[in-house]
Subunit: 122 residues, 2 copies
Amino acid sequence: MKKEPNENQENICPLEFVQHVIGGKWKISILWALSIQTRRFNELQRLFPNITQAMLTKQLRELERDRFIRRKVYREVPPKVEYSLTPIGKDFFPIIKQMYEWGEKNYDVMNAQKKNPSNKRC
Amino acid sequence: MKKEPNENQENICPLEFVQHVIGGKWKISILWALSIQTRRFNELQRLFPNITQAMLTKQLRELERDRFIRRKVYREVPPKVEYSLTPIGKDFFPIIKQMYEWGEKNYDVMNAQKKNPSNKRC
DNA sequence: GGCAATAGTATGATTTTTGATAGTATCTAT
DNA sequence: ATAGATACTATCAAAAATCATACTATTGCC
């Protein structure tokens, strides 16, 4: 039998839920990108050149399933699909923003104490 | 060569940093538990009966490395080690709290639209 | 029909994360 | 010297996430 984490710790469950829906390597970045503006599939690929097409599709499908984003297909040539945030997705944005700000503030602090600060990528 | 996600998207980098330091299945829950009070190793094990000892140790070491928590050893018998939040860890807490609140608010909303609401665990 | 452009799917391999289990270290009271 | 309590550490296995690559679908225009 596969165990669930934490089955008798009710007060932590909402956190597990959040981790479940925004887990993975790309979802937060995708939500961030969509919070700035509606984007096409291609555009997201260009923004994240290191995500594979299959993975991008998978993440978008999951975000759609969890009602963070909306997928709108235009029956045109060439094909066009637009992704945008739903109200639930927008409601989540303040959290991402806070994470961004915390990250910005603490990235340098943490790296300043390491040997080779030139490793900095951003 | 292993690619890094997103190497030319500077404005998303702080988010990647945050994901890196709080990623994994247990860190947020551990931080939540420590935000309530300082805890001993044993206590954390009891709180999260489904995390293995090895994994708990690993997560605690990483949180310590990233300066979220402080590890204090008491030279006593039986051995006693206490874990508590550092200022950086405390600074992160509002984010966790917001995640908790968002999760609480949206868990039901999402599950209400599924077939079997009795699956609810919390 | 054939091509070009966008947005995917499918499949199998590789990497990363997590788990299970057993063993170690420390100290003290008996 | 041994046992008992806490806090680990080591090793290998299993599961999950991600990747690389190739293939498919849709549509309008030539």
